[in-house]
C-alpha cells in the first residue's frame, strides 16, 4: 500500500466478489488515468468488511466514507465528486447517526459498526489479504516475534489462560487449559490443528477470517505450536471454500519465504511448518476426532473420549486443535495483553464473538461484538431491526446445534452460560432473525433434515433417532400429525441428546426441543388445529380468488398446475384439489384479489 493522499479500497470478500466487485478495480483505474490521478491515488483490495448485505462495498479514505451497492456506472461520479472535488457522494454513501467508538477512525460514523469491536476481524476490510507487507504494516507477526524472543512456552500458555479466551468453535472450552493439557502430554511429538471446516449452513465467520486476514490465523497457529512444543501444524479447511484456500496457500507460501514458517523461525530455535488438508463435504468432520480421522485417511467418524486429542490425537500424537476464530484472537492476546483482553466481555466469557447475522433483519452480514452485548443490541442497533414492519418472532443461534429464543429473551447477554441458560448455545456464531412469517415447525424440520443427512451413521441414537424425529416432523408439517407426536419428539430428542457419541448427535435435537418449549402452540396448531399460523406449510394453505378479480387472466397463465379456470374479464376460480399452494398466483395478482388462508378449517 502506497502513501498517496487518497486511498480507494474495494472489498473482495466472497459476497462482494460474487457481485462483481473486482471488476470495479479496472474501471476505477481507468477513471483515475483519465484524470491523471493514477500516480497519486492508491487503489487496493481488502478482505471482507462484514457489510455483506450491501455489497459491493468500496471505502474511500481519508474521509472513511463507505460506499455501498457500488456499480461500474457509479465510479465516474465517485471519482469526480469525491476524489477530485472532495465531496463524498451522499446517495451512495452509508451515512448514519454519528456514534463515537474505538474504530471510528477506521470505519467512520457508520452505525453498523458502532457497537462492534473487531478483534478477530481487526484487519478484514482494511488490508489486502494477499499482501504480506500489508499484514506487517498493521503489526503483523509482531506477536510471534515477541513470543519467540521474550516468552517461554509456559509463559505463553499462562498468558492465554489469564486472558480467559474460550474456544470459538462452539464448545467454549478454556483455550489456555487446552494448551496446557497438550503441552503436558508425555509423548514428545506434538501436532497443532486449525479447524476450518465451518459446516453450519449459512455460517461464514471462519471463511471471512481466512479470506480477509489469513496471516492472523497463521500467526496464532505458529504461536500455539511454540507454546505446546509442536513442529507441525495442519489447517483442515473445507473444500467448498476455494477463495479461502487460495488465500491461505498464498499466505503460507509468503510466510515461508519470509522466514515466519520453516526451520529456525525468525532466527530462533523454533521450527514449525503448516500443511493444508482439504475436507470432502462432511459436516461431521468439524467434530475434532472425526476431523483427525479424516486427516489420517480414514472415514470421518468420531470416536469415544477419553483419550482426548490433547493426549492422543492425530496419528496418536498429542494434538492441539482450535477453531479459526480462536487462533485469530491469539496475536491480540499476546500484543495487547491478557489483562486488556479479559477486560472485554463478561466474567465467564472474555473477548468478542463474531456472528453471521442473517434472516429477517435490515443489515445482514458479519458482526463482531464484545461478549455481554445483548441480542437486542445486535438485532436492532447493528442489524437495523426487522424490515417491512414485521414483528420479530424468534432469534436462532448456534446453527443446527442451537435453539430458538423468543422475544422475551432479547435482553439475554451474549455469553456461553447465559445463552445456554436461555435454552440455546453460542455455537460457532450463526444468528438468524425470524419474523412472524416463518413457521417454527418448518424451521426445526429444516435443521433436523440437515443433521440427519450429515450424521456419520456410527451411533444408533443419531443415525436412527434423528430419522424418526424427522419422519414425525414431516408428518406434522404435512398435516398428518397425531396426538402424542410432540411427546414422542420430546422423548426421542431428550434421549438422543444424552446418548449420542458426539456433539452432532448430542445437539441435533436442540432446534426441535427448543421450538417445542418456546412455540408449542404452533406444533399443536399444526396437529389438532389444522393451521400453520405463519402460512408456510403448504398443506394448510389455501388460496381463494375474491370479487376484486377483474379477469385479467395473469394468475391463470402463471399457474403450472393448471388449477385456475376463468374467462377473460370474468372472475376466475382456483380448484383446491389441483392447487399445489406454490403462491405464484398470489404474488402475481396486481389487484390484490387473491386471499391466502392458513387455516384448513376455514377454507
Amino acid at each position: 500500500m502506497g502513501m498517496g493522499e487518497y486511498v480507494i479500497t474495494i472489498c473482495s470478500g466472497s459476497n462482494c466478489e460474487g457481485r462483481n466487485s473486482r471488476a470495479l478495480e479496472s474501471v476505477i483505474a481507468k477513471e483515475l488515468a483519465k484524470r491523471g490521478l493514477a500516480d497519486t491515488v492508491t487503489v487496493s483490495v481488502s478482505g471482507c468488511l462484514g457489510m455483506c448485505g450491501k455489497g459491493p462495498v468500496v471505502i474511500v479514505n481519508p474521509q472513511y466514507t463507505i460506499y455501498n451497492y457500488v456499480t461500474e456506472n457509479d465510479i465516474p461520479e465517485i471519482i469526480e465528486e469525491h476524489v477530485c472535488k472532495g465531496k463524498p457522494v451522499a446517495r451512495l454513501a452509508v451515512v448514519e447517526d454519528h456514534l463515537f467508538n474505538r474504530f471510528y477512525r477506521v470505519f467512520g460514523d457508520v452505525k453498523f459498526f458502532s457497537k462492534q469491536m473487531r478483534i478477530a476481524l481487526r484487519n478484514c476490510g482494511i488490508i489486502d489479504p494477499e499482501n504480506l507487507d500489508a499484514y506487517l504494516s498493521v503489526r503483523g507477526y509482531e506477536a510471534l516475534a515477541k513470543v519467540l524472543t521474550n516468552m517461554a512456552p509456559q509463559e505463553v500458555i499462562a498468558e492465554v489462560k489469564k486472558a480467559g479466551l474460550r474456544g470459538r468453535g462452539g464448545a467454549g472450552f478454556p483455550t489456555g487449559v487446552k494448551w496446557e493439557l497438550t503441552a503436558k502430554a508425555k509423548k514428545e511429538d506434538k501436532v497443532v490443528i486449525c479447524n476450518a471446516d465451518e459446516g453450519d449452513p449459512g455460517a461464514f465467520m471462519d471463511r471471512s477470517a481466512i479470506e480477509g486476514d489469513p496471516h492472523t490465523v497463521l500467526e496464532g497457529i505458529i504461536i500455539g505450536g511454540y507454546a505446546v512444543g509442536a513442529k507441525k501444524g495442519y489447517v483442515y479447511i473445507r473444500a467448498e471454500y476455494p477463495l479461502a484456500i487460495k488465500r491461505l496457500e498464498r499466505a503460507i507460501d509468503d510466510a515461508r519465504k519470509a522466514g515466519f514458517l520453516g526451520n529456525n523461525i525468525m532466527g530462533s530455535d523454533f521450527s514449525f511448518d503448516v500443511e493444508i488438508k482439504l475436507g470432502a463435504g462432511a459436516f461431521v468432520c468439524g467434530e475434532e476426532t472425526a476431523l483427525i480421522h479424516s486427516i489420517e485417511g480414514s472415514r470421518g467418524m468420531p470416536r469415544p473420549r477419553p483419550p482426548y486429542p490433547s493426549e492422543e490425537g492425530l496419528f496418536e500424537k498429542p494434538t492441539l486443535i482450535n477453531n479459526v476464530e480462536t487462533w485469530a484472537n491469539i496475536p491480540v492476546v499476546i500484543l495487547d495483553g491478557a489483562e486488556w483482553f479479559s477486560s472485554i466481555g463478561t466474567p465467564t466469557s472474555k473477548g468478542t464473538k463474531v456472528f453471521a447475522l442473517a434472516g429477517k433483519v435490515k443489515n445482514t452480514g458479519l458482526v463482531e461484538v464484545p461478549m455481554g452485548t445483548t441480542i437486542r443490541e445486535i438485532v436492532y442497533d447493528i442489524g437495523g431491526g426487522i424490515p417491512n414492519g414485521k414483528k420479530i418472532k424468534s432469534v436462532q443461534t448456534g446453527g443446527p446445534s442451537g435453539g430458538c429464543l423468543t422475544e422475551r429473551d432479547l435482553d439475554t447477554k451474549i455469553d456461553y452460560e447465559s445463552l445456554a441458560k436461555a435454552g440455546s448455545i453460542m455455537g460457532s456464531g450463526g444468528m438468524i432473525v425470524i419474523d412472524e412469517d416463518s413457521c417454527m415447525v418448518k424451521m426445526a424440520k429444516f435443521f433436523l433434515e440437515f443433521t440427519q443427512n450429515e450424521s456419520c451413521g456410527k451411533c444408533t441414537p443419531c443415525r436412527e433417532g434423528t430419522k424418526r424425529m424427522l419422519e414425525i416432523l414431516t408428518r406434522i408439517t404435512e398435516g398428518k400429525g397425531v396426538e402424542g407426536d410432540i411427546e414422542k419428539l420430546e422423548r426421542l430428542g431428550n434421549m438422543i441428546k444424552k446418548a449420542s457419541l458426539c456433539g452432532l448427535g448430542q445437539s441435533a435435537p436442540n432446534p426441535v426441543l427448543s421450538t417445542i418449549k418456546n412455540f408449542r402452540e404452533e406444533y399443536e396448531e399444526h396437529i389438532s388445529g389444522g393451521k400453520c399460523r405463519a402460512g408456510e406449510c403448504a398443506t394448510f394453505l389455501s388460496y381463494e380468488i375474491t370479487d376484486k378479480c377483474v379477469g385479467c387472466t395473469s394468475c391463470k397463465r402463471v399457474c403450472s398446475a393448471k388449477a385456475i379456470s376463468g374467462e377473460p374479464k370474468k372472475k376466475h376460480t382456483i380448484d383446491p384439489d389441483k392447487c399445489t399452494r406454490c403462491g405464484l398466483c398470489y404474488s402475481t395478482c396486481k389487484f390484490k384479489a387473491i386471499t391466502k388462508l392458513n387455516d384448513r378449517r376455514k377454507s
Partner: protein
C-alpha cells in the same frame, strides 16, 4: 506402569466396590457380576462406542456414558439400572429393531440371535417409532458368505475383525445418516472383492447380516436321490465344536455321534478327513525334504487354509512358488473318493456324491476352484459347515446327544492322532514334524508332543533338530498374523524352512462355519477356542497310532494305488497349483511389501 495395579473405590448402584484402576466401567462391572447389555463391544476388537446400548449414568456427567469406553476413576458413582437409563436403552434397541426386517420366524438365526436376546431383555413390547425401513438387495455372489445389509445393525464388528485381526480390509461403512451401510468398496459384489471367504464376519455378526452360503437344500435333495452313492467326510474341527450347537459346553469330542448322524441322514459311506490329513502329511513332509535338499523354494508354506491361499494369490503373488503344491486334506480325499474308492467299489465316479462337513466357509470357495475339478466335475460336490450340519441333524429329527456312536468306514476312515490335530493352530506343523523326522532320519521321533507350536499366541517360532539339520519353523493363525509372519519371512528369507498358516484365529477350530456363541459367551471366546483345541489334542493322546506314516490304511493306499509320495499318480490327484489374482482394487504387479 510398574506391575502393581492401583486399587480404587467405585460405587455402583449405591454400593461401594474396590476395583483395579486402569480399566473401563464395563470391564470392572463384568468382574463384579454386573453384565451391562452391549452390542458392538468385543474384547478382541477395538472399542467402537457405536451401539450406545451399554450406556450408564455417572453422577456429575450430563450425558450418558458408554461403559465400554469410559475408564473408572476413584470415587466414581455409576448407575446401571435406573428407570431413566433403562428407558434410554430400550428406546435405542427399539430404534435398531425399527430399521430391521421383522422376519424372525423365517430367519437363519431365529433363536440364536444377539439382537433377539437383547430386544427380549430390554422389554420392548410396543413399537413407538416405526417408520421407513432400509432396503438393500442380498449379495449372493460369493461362494462362501452371504451379505444381507437389511439385517445389519451397524455395530461395526465385521469391519473391525476384517481390518484389525484378519487385515484383509474387505469391508467398511459407506454413505451417511440413514443411508449408512457396510459394504465392500464401491458396493462391488463380494466375489469380486478381496474378501478371503474366511467367514470371521459371520462369527462376530450379532444378527443374520452375514451368513454362510446355504447348501443344505441342495444336500437334502441329493440325499434322497437313490441313484447317487453318497460319501461324506468330516473335518477334525467339527467334532470338537458340534456339541455347542446342541447346548453342550465347548470341548466335547463327538466324532462317533457325527458318524452316526451322517449315516442317519442318508450317507452310504462316512469317511474321516483326518485320514487324508495323514495323506497330506505324507506328501507334504516328502515335499519339505525335497526342498531342504534344494529342489524348490524355501520357506515352504502350508496350503490347507483356502482363505489364506486366496490372500496369498492376491497380496503375495511373488511368493506363490513357496506354497506347498499339496491340496488340502478335504480336496485330497475327494479326489481319491472319485478314483481310488470308486475303483474299489466298482462305481461310476459320476454317480458319487462327495460331501464335506467342514468348520470352514472358505472350503466352499475351494471346492469351486477350477483347479480342483476333474473333467469339469468338482472333486468335492458339496461343502456344508458345522452350523449347516447341526441344522440338518435337528431338521431331520436326529437326537444327536443320545444316538449311539458309530465308527467311520474303511478304507478312508482311520486316522492317526497327527491327522486329528490338524484342526488346531500348530497341529499341521506338529503332524508334519512327527513324520518328516522319521522320513529324514529313519528313526522314530519319541517326544512327539511338540509344545512350542501349540497354543494361541499369534505367531510361534521353533526349531526342530532332525538328525544333522535344524529345521526352523513358524506357525501363524489369523490372516493378520499370517501376513505379519510372511513380511518377516520376506525380509529374511533364510529365517524359516517351514511355515504353517491357518487363516482363522485359533486355527480351523475357530473357522467361519463353527457354531455360534451361546448367550453365555462371546464369539471367538479364547476359552472356547482352547477347549476345542484341547478336545483334539485329547483324541490324539488317546490314540495308539499317532504318526501319519504309521497309519496302515495310508500305507495300503500307497501300496495299492498311489505308488509313492510325490509319485506320478500323487502329482495328478493330490497336488495343485496357484496363480496371482487381481480382484478389483489390487494390481498384482504393483503390490508392495505390506
Amino acid at each position: 506402569m510398574n506391575g502393581e495395579v492401583r486399587k480404587i473405590k467405585i460405587i455402583i448402584n449405591n454400593k461401594p466396590y474396590e476395583v483395579d484402576a486402569g480399566q473401563t466401567i464395563m470391564q470392572a462391572a463384568d468382574k463384579l457380576g454386573f453384565h451391562i447389555p452391549r452390542l458392538c463391544y468385543h474384547p478382541k476388537l477395538s472399542i467402537e462406542g457405536a451401539c450406545r446400548v451399554c450406556i450408564v449414568q455417572v453422577e456429575g456427567m450430563r450425558n450418558y456414558v458408554a461403559s465400554c469406553a469410559y475408564p473408572v476413576s476413584d470415587g466414581m458413582k455409576i448407575f446401571t439400572n435406573t428407570e431413566e437409563i433403562r428407558r434410554a436403552r430400550r428406546d435405542i434397541v427399539e430404534l435398531i429393531l425399527d430399521n430391521h426386517p421383522q422376519d424372525c420366524h423365517t430367519c437363519e438365526r431365529d433363536g440364536i440371535c444377539e439382537l433377539q436376546r437383547l430386544a427380549y431383555a430390554m422389554g420392548i413390547r410396543h413399537r413407538h417409532f416405526e417408520g421407513e425401513r432400509k432396503r438393500y438387495p442380498k449379495d449372493l455372489s460369493s461362494f462362501s458368505v452371504v451379505r444381507n445389509p437389511e439385517k445389519c445393525i451397524l455395530c461395526g464388528r465385521c469391519v473391525r475383525i476384517c481390518s484389525e485381526i484378519q487385515k484383509v480390509n474387505a469391508l467398511g461403512q459407506a454413505h451417511r445418516g440413514f443411508q449408512t451401510v457396510v459394504m465392500p468398496a464401491y458396493n462391488m459384489p463380494f466375489s469380486e472383492s478381496v474378501c478371503s471367504c474366511c467367514g470371521q464376519c459371520i462369527n462376530v455378526c450379532p444378527t443374520a447380516a452375514f451368513v454362510e452360503k446355504n447348501s443344505t437344500q441342495e444336500l437334502f435333495a441329493k440325499l434322497s436321490d437313490p441313484s447317487l452313492i453318497k460319501v461324506a467326510q468330516i473335518a477334525p474341527s467339527v467334532r470338537a465344536a458340534i456339541g455347542e450347537a446342541f447346548g453342550l459346553p465347548p470341548g466335547r469330542a463327538m466324532e462317533k455321534e457325527c458318524a452316526a448322524a451322517l449315516r442317519k441322514l442318508g450317507f452310504d459311506y462316512v469317511f474321516d478327513t483326518p485320514f487324508s490329513a495323514d495323506l497330506t502329511i505324507m506328501e507334504e513332509a516328502s515335499e519339505l525334504l525335497e526342498r531342504l535338499k534344494g529342489h524348490g523354494k524355501l520357506p515352504m508354506i502350508t496350503s490347507c487354509s483356502s482363505a489364506w491361499m486366496k490372500c496369498m494369490e492376491q497380496f503375495y503373488p511373488d511368493m506363490i512358488e513357496n506354497i506347498s503344491t499339496c491340496k488340502s486334506p478335504m480336496s485330497m480325499q475327494s479326489a481319491l473318493v472319485k478314483t481310488y474308492f470308486a475303483e474299489k467299489i466298482k462305481a461310476d465316479p459320476k454317480k458319487i456324491l462327495s460331501v464335506a462337513v467342514m468348520c470352514c466357509t472358505a472350503k466352499k470357495y475351494e471346492a469351486a476352484r477350477p483347479e480342483l475339478c476333474t473333467d469339469g466335475v468338482p472333486d468335492t460336490d458339496i461343502v456344508v459347515t458345522t452350523r449347516e450340519f447341526a441344522w440338518m441333524v435337528k431338521s431331520a429329527g436326529i437326537d444327536f446327544l443320545h444316538i449311539p456312536g458309530e465308527e467311520f468306514d474303511h478304507p478312508m476312515g482311520r486316522s492317526s492322532g497327527a491327522g486329528v490335530i490338524f484342526g488346531a493352530t500348530g497341529g499341521v506343523m506338529e503332524a508334519a514334524i512327527r513324520t518328516a523326522y522319521e522320513l529324514y532320519t529313519g528313526e522314530t521321533l519319541m517326544d512327539i508332543d511338540i509344545m512350542p507350536v501349540r497354543g494361541i499366541t499369534g505367531i510361534k517360532e521353533g526349531a526342530v533338530k532332525m538328525g544333522d539339520v535344524e529345521v526352523r519353523v513358524a506357525v501363524a493363525h489369523g490372516l493378520g498374523n499370517a501376513m505379519k509372519l510372511l513380511d518377516i519371512a520376506k525380509k529374511d528369507p533364510n529365517r524359516y524352512h517351514f511355515i504353517e498358516i491357518m487363516g482363522c484365529p485359533g486355527g480351523c477350530i475357530g473357522g467361519g462355519g463353527q457354531p455360534y456363541a451361546d448367550s453365555n459367551s462371546i464369539p471367538l471366546d479364547e476359552d472356547c477356542l482352547r477347549a476345542r483345541a484341547k478336545a483334539l489334542y485329547g483324541i490324539d493322546k488317546d490314540k495308539t497310532i499317532r504318526r501319519s506314516n504309521e497309519n496302515p490304511d495310508i500305507q495300503r493306499l500307497y501300496k495299492e494305488f498311489l505308488g509313492k509320495p510325490l509319485g506320478e499318480k500323487s502329482h495328478k490327484l493330490l497336488h495343485t497349483h496357484y496363480a496371482p489374482k487381481s480382484p478389483r482394487g489390487i494390481i498384482a504387479e504393483n503390490m508392495k511389501v505390506r
